[in-house]
Every structure is written in C-alpha cells, then in structure tokens.
C-alpha cells in the first residue's frame, strides 16, 4: 500500500529521519509509537504528503507521492488530526460535510444525495447525531475529536491516518472508537495508520506496530508482542515496566512499576512460605515496601511462583506438581536461615507441603520471628497433622495474624524501621536484582 524507502528528513538543521524504511500493508492497522519529539507526527505528515522528503522515496501503490494530485490523495486517505483550535463557529454538520469535498466533482461543489447519505452514516457511526446543530467552537475536546473522525469517515477513503485521535476521549468513547476502527478494518478493509499514546489499546487493535527511537530510527516493527517488550520499553522510554498478556485478549499489556506502598521495610530480611496464590498480594506489598524477600518452596507454574519470578524475588523452586524434594527444602532452609522473619501465608495444607511447617518450627527454635497468616482448621487436608503442628507453632511463639491486610501494620509495629532506613533514598522503583540464591 505505502512503501517507504530510505527516507531522510530534517527540519532546518534538526535531522528527524535518516534512511528510514518500512511499509504499510493493505488492510492492516499499523500503530506508530515512540517518545515525544521522535517524529511520529512528522512521519505521518510525510506519508500524507504535507512534507517532502529530502531523500529517499514514498510510494503509494507504487506511485511516487509527489505525482499524486491533492484531490486524488484526499480520495485515498483521510486524516483525523490532533484536536485543533476552531476559529469560526461552523456547525458540526457543516464540518462533517467538508469531508465530502473531494467527492464533489461539479464546479460549484454542490452536495448530492450520496453526499448526504455518507454524512448521515458518519454522524451515526461516531455518535454525534445529537450535536449536528452545535457550533464546533462550543464542543469539548472529546466531542471535537469525534467530529473530526466523522469528517474522515464521510471522506470514505481506503486509508485512515489518526494522529493521537483518542487523546481527549473518555474510556467509553475511546473503546467505541477502537471498536469502530476494528469494524472499518474488518468490514471495509480500511488500512489504518495511527499514532497513539495508549500503548495497551494500540497493541490490542494493531496487526503491526512501529516503534521509533528518539532519533527517528526503527527500534522495532512487527506484531505487538514482538515490539512491546520490557527491553524495548526500557530502551526507548527509559522506564521499567512489567509486560503481561491481557488475560482476555492475549495482547501485551504494560504494568507500570509505581511504588504505591506506604510502608518501608528496607533491609528487613523476610522469608515467605506460601503457595496456590495465597502469597501473591503479600509478595507484591512487601516487594513495594522494599523488604529483602525470599520465597519458597514453590512449584513452577504456581501463581505465587509467577508473581515471584516477575518481581525477581529469589526463590526455592520445584518442578510442577512434584512434592518438594530434599534439595529444594534445603535451599529453603538456607533462605530461612538468612532471614529475620518467616511469614507463613499458605492456606491449604496437604501432605505435599507439610514439610514447610517443620521448617517454620526450626526457624522458631533459632529465635526467628514467625507469623502465621489466618490459619484455618478447615483447610487442613492431612487428617489433623498440619493443624497439630500449627498449634504447636502458636504455643512456641508464632504470631497469628487474623487478616492478611493487618500483616504489614503488625510488621511495622514489631520491626519499626530505623531512622536510618526511613531517610534512605526514596526509590521510585523497588526493582532489586539480587543474585538468585
């Protein structure tokens, strides 16, 4: 559809692109990503022909862009611009009708029945039928963006360019907008090239993505999961994020690592015994509070295990669905020996994890603090053996925490963070990379 070959472009002395090549395929949704100022909008303007490349070539259906007339270009591609200031109070209907201009062939540019049909269709698709008589100068940013989209739809072109067209939209209209783009793409085969700052949403609807570096070079082009990687995001945007797949759509999703914790357990060495999802919230909270965590034993594939490995927490790990082996239990014990505090968050007890309680007892004997998070007799599937050991732990001084939410408060009370560590540098990201024990 659009072939970009070795283009170079500079504003005065400021080079933007050098030898950039890629292509836009017919019928795809391609998202352009990159840090502010990397030239995404400039690239779109180059593709549209508003700016001329200084070297290289841009071909539309193997025709050089310079050779295509303005009107023919408007029939090929419609543009949804960033929100702009409107000077004159045109009504919404008038602005949307402007989208039909390239289709008007008569010298007086009078509209025809087909024009009116396309306009009504566009108004309905973008949910602005109720706004038709309103002056555009009185609309909100989001309403204006929908008007621009309607104008582009009325243009009825085979390619749609969107320059941050959803930046002012509420979530309902943003999703509606995406749904509309998908529908246009699937039903009418519209090729869509968009600039978006909503990486998650862009990844969800795009077939391919083009990631630009701040120097206008290609950092990656391909399917969303190939482009949206932790490595790429760190390299281009200089932030640490976690990327997981959206459980619903399977598309990559970015999780920013913001420390929202109000607690500080810096340098407090804690070992967590958990499993089956009982420990993931505690893991996350303690991680954000900057505690020096270790965890285990855990089977590979356990949901607690995936959280721990996502957070790079040192862990004693067993193969899936196997009882804990001697080696893993030994490793766990080394971790416990290294820790000051042991937290037992396991909910269900069976023959498989009974050994953990023994380890806890050993820890207690070595005068380590042991916390039991909400132990329930009904969750004992070892015919009473586990419960018996839990009771013994209690008698020997293990602290029972009734609710998981109260754990951090209790830890804070028992191990008040020293003056030194409270004033320790406030780290934005508690991202510690410890050597895996």
């Amino acid at each position: 559809m659009i072939q970009v070959d070795n283009i170079s472009f500079a504003f005065a002395a400021q080079p933007i692109f050098k030898d950039l090549s890629f292509s836009v395929r017919k019928g795809e949704i391609l998202s352009l990503l990159g840090p502010n100022g990397c030239g995404k909008s400039t690239l779109l303007r180059l593709l549209r022909g508003h700016l001329k490349v200084q070297s290289g070539s841009i071909l539309w259906d193997s025709e050089p862009i310079e050779a295509i007339s303005t009107r023919k270009m408007a029939l090929k591609v419609a543009m949804v611009p960033q929100s702009v200031h409107m000077t004159f109070p045109y009504t919404v209907a008038e602005v949307v009708a402007m989208g039909r201009y390239p289709h008007r062939r008569n010298i007086l540019s009078f509209s025809r029945a087909s024009d009116q049909k396309a306009i009504n269709h566009a108004l309905a698709m973008t949910d602005i039928v109720g706004l038709v008589d309103r002056p555009v100068t009185q609309l909100s940013g989001g309403e204006l963006q929908r008007v621009f989209l309607a104008r582009a739809l009325a243009q009825n072109a085979e390619v749609l360019f969107l320059d941050e067209a959803t930046s002012h939209l509420d979530i309902d209209h943003r999703l509606e907008f995406s749904r509309l783009l998908l529908r246009l793409n699937r039903e009418q085969g519209t090729t869509i090239v968009q600039i978006s700052h909503d990486i998650d949403l862009a990844a969800a609807i795009s077939q391919r993505m083009l990631l630009l570096t701040e120097h206008g070079e290609t950092a990656g082009i391909g399917k969303p999961h190939e482009v949206i990687t932790e490595e790429n995001i760190r390299r281009i945007f200089h932030v640490d994020v976690k990327i997981e797949n959206n459980p619903f759509s399977g598309t990559p999703q970015i999780h920013p690592l913001l420390n929202t914790s109000v607690h500080q357990f810096r340098e407090l060495k804690i070992h967590l015994i958990c499993g089956g999802g009982s420990g993931k919230t505690i893991l996350r909270k303690l991680h954000l509070a900057a505690a020096e965590l270790t965890v285990g034993p855990l089977n590979h594939g356990d949901s607690d295990e995936s959280v721990a490995s996502a957070l790079d927490i040192p862990m004693a790990e067993e193969s899936p669905f196997r009882p804990y082996s001697r080696a893993v239990l030994d490793k766990t014990w080394q971790m416990i020996a290294h820790a000051e505090i042991v937290i037992i968050a396991t909910s269900w007890w069976g023959t498989g994890n009974l050994d953990c309680l023994k380890l806890a007892h050993r820890a207690l004997k070595q005068e380590k603090k042991v916390y039991l998070v909400n132990p329930q007799k009904t969750n004992d599937y070892t015919k009473g053996e586990a419960w018996e050991q839990i009771c013994r732990l209690k008698n020997d001084g293990a602290v029972v925490v009734e609710r998981e939410e109260a754990l951090l408060e209790m830890l804070k009370k028992d191990h008040a963070c020293s003056e030194k560590c409270a004033t320790a540098s406030r780290r934005f990201l508690p991202h510690r990379v410890l050597p895996k024990a």
Binding site: R45, R48, G49, H50, T70, R71, M73, A74, L75, V77, A78, M79, P81, V84, T87, F88, P89, Y90, T91, E94, V95, M98, G99, Y101, P102, R104, I107, L108, S109, P135, T137, R151, Q155
Partner: protein, 334 residues
C-alpha cells in the same frame, strides 16, 4: 413549536433581505442637501430622467452615487470576508495586504503631478494598489506564500507606501495635499459616474468567482493541512482568493479612497446572524455591505448639509462602537 418558530424566524430574515436594501436605497436617494420626500421620489423614479431640477438631482447625481456606495460597500465586505477566512483571523480587514497604501500612493502621485481629472485619479490609484499587491506577492512567494509571510510583507509594503506618501504630501502644494487628505478619509463624491458601471462589472465578476469557490473558503478556515487533507490545493486557491480580494479592494479604493470599517464589521455581523458557511455568507455580506455604505453615505451627506463629511468618518463612527460591543459580548472568536 420549535419548528414553527424556526420557520417564522426564517421568514423574518428573508423579509429583511428584501426590505432592508429597498429602504437603504430609498433613504440614500431622498437624503441630502435637498430633501426629497418619499412620495415625490416615487413619482420622479416613475417619470424617468428629465430636465426638472429634482429629476436631474435624482437621476444624474444621487442614483449614480447610491450605486457607487453600494458597489464599494459590496467590494469591501466581500474582500473582508475573504481575508478573514483565508487568514483564519476574524480581525483581518481588506487593507491588510498593503493595497490601501499602494492605492493612496498612486492617487497622491497623480494629484501632485497635477493630474486632477476624475478619470485619471481612480486609474492611478488602481495601478498603485495592484502594484502593491504584486510586490507583496513577489516577496511572499519566496517563502511559498504562507499566510504569515503574506501578512508581514503586506504590512511592510503598506508602511513603505505610507512613508513615501507622507514625503509626497509634505512636498506637495497645499491644494493637492488637502484633496489628498480628503481622498484618504474616503469620499464618494470624487468618482466619475462613468467609472461606476465598470466598477460594477469588476465587483460582479469577483462576487461570482468567490461564490463559486465558497466551499474552498470553508475548507481554508479549517487550517492549511486540514484543507489539503480534504483535497484542496491550498497554495493555489489561497493565491486566487488573495488576488480576487485584492482586486476588489483596489477597485473600491480607486473609486472612493479609504473607506474603513465596512470590510471588518459587515462580515462579522453577517457571521453572527447566519453562521460562518460561505455559501450564505458571501451573498449576505455583499448585500449588507452595500446597504451599510449607502446608509452611511446618506448620513454623511445630510448631517451637515449642504456640507459633506467624509464617509469614512461615518462608517468608523457607526462601526467602531458596534464592533466594541460585539467584542465585549462574544470575544474575538465571533
């Protein structure tokens, strides 16, 4: 109910479109140093031209003059509408591109050279205006004619012309310079009636062209890139509009000197009432511009009759307060 009100308002507006020009025309014919009452006016108009003194006044003097006023009002407000749309600035006016300076310079050169004939003066002013326009274009073309360079070079050419003008006035004999000042303030009595029909042809041509290209003006108000996105050859159509608007202004200035405020205020009022769509705005501005200047001229003739105040003074006195009121009510984005 709402529909009914809407329809009623429409009818009222349509009625206004017929009644207002008629009234303005009538008033313009009957006002002046010799008051001619309406019923007498009707009979004179029915009788046709004749030797009677009142017939002579109406047919030989006032009728051409009303036509001239209408013509200049039309031309200026058409050019105002165009400039405001192309420059996307509701405060633009027809004299923006140095046309006024050029025309004034041409006229004053003619005056100081002793060419006082009513035939030569408009021609000199017209040539001056067009040369200024050409100079502006040639300067701006070096930078692909963006609106900014056009405005800047327009202002510069205007200042250059103004400096030369002052120099000439300083050197000129006092009679010529008095006449020049009168011309600079706008004066409808200078034009030779023979020029009026030519002027009308010129303005009619400009009007037809602008009305045909009205959707292009709509697109240009949306910004250059958007206009191009929608398939408009922006550079070319902007040039056409500047040329047409410049030519209309030149024509008006050549015939009557610098009549201010019509080109600024009339498009505003029309936009306020009928919205910014140029298919409607262009004919309405032309109509109301013509009416406004006919009325202003009638006032200029009758307030101090038999003396006559420059019409530019009346338009400014009527226009400026109204404009201030609009600014206060709606802000600059009217």
């Amino acid at each position: 109910m709402n529909n009914f009100l809407h329809a009623k308002r429409r009818w009222f507006q349509l009625l206004m479109l017929v009644v207002l020009p008629g009234l303005a025309f009538f008033f313009s014919l009957s006002a002046g140093s010799l008051d001619i009452p309406p019923e007498k006016l009707l009979s004179i108009l029915q009788q046709g031209p004749g030797d009677n003194i009142e017939q002579t006044i109406i047919w030989q003097i006032r009728l051409p003059r009303s036509f001239l006023a209408a013509l200049v009002g039309c031309a200026l407000s058409l050019s105002g509408v165009t400039f405001q749309a192309v420059l996307r600035n509701p405060l633009a006016d027809p004299y923006l591109l140095g046309v006024s300076g050029g025309a004034a310079l041409g006229a004053v050169i003619a005056l100081t050279c002793g060419l006082q004939s009513t035939l030569m003066l408009p021609l000199a002013a017209f040539i001056g205006a067009l040369s200024a326009l050409l100079l502006v274009y040639l300067v701006a073309r070096a930078h692909t004619c963006t609106t900014h360079t056009l405005i800047l070079s327009g202002v510069m050419v205007g200042s250059l012309a103004a400096a030369l003008l002052l120099f000439l006035l300083w050197r000129a004999p006092s009679e010529a310079s008095r006449q020049a000042v009168f011309w600079l303030a706008g004066n409808l009595s200078l034009a030779d009636p023979g020029w009026v029909s030519w002027g009308w042809l010129w303005v009619a041509g400009g009007f037809v062209l602008l009305w045909m290209l009205a959707p292009h003006l709509d697109l240009l108000t949306q910004g250059d890139e958007t206009a191009e996105d929608l398939g408009l050859d922006v550079g070319r159509s902007r040039l056409i509009f500047f040329a047409v608007a410049g030519a209309l202004t030149s024509c008006a200035v050549a015939l009557t000197g610098l009549v201010g405020f019509v080109g600024l205020v009339i498009p505003h009022i029309c936009r306020l009432i009928w919205g910014p769509g140029h298919r409607r705005l262009i004919p309405l501005s032309a109509l109301f511009g013509g009416c406004f200047l006919m009325l202003a001229d009638a006032l200029a003739r009758s307030i101090y009759a038999p003396a006559e105040i420059p019409v530019g003074v009346v338009t400014a006195l009527l226009g400026a307060p109204f404009f201030l009121y609009l600014l206060r009510r709606k802000g600059a984005g009217v």
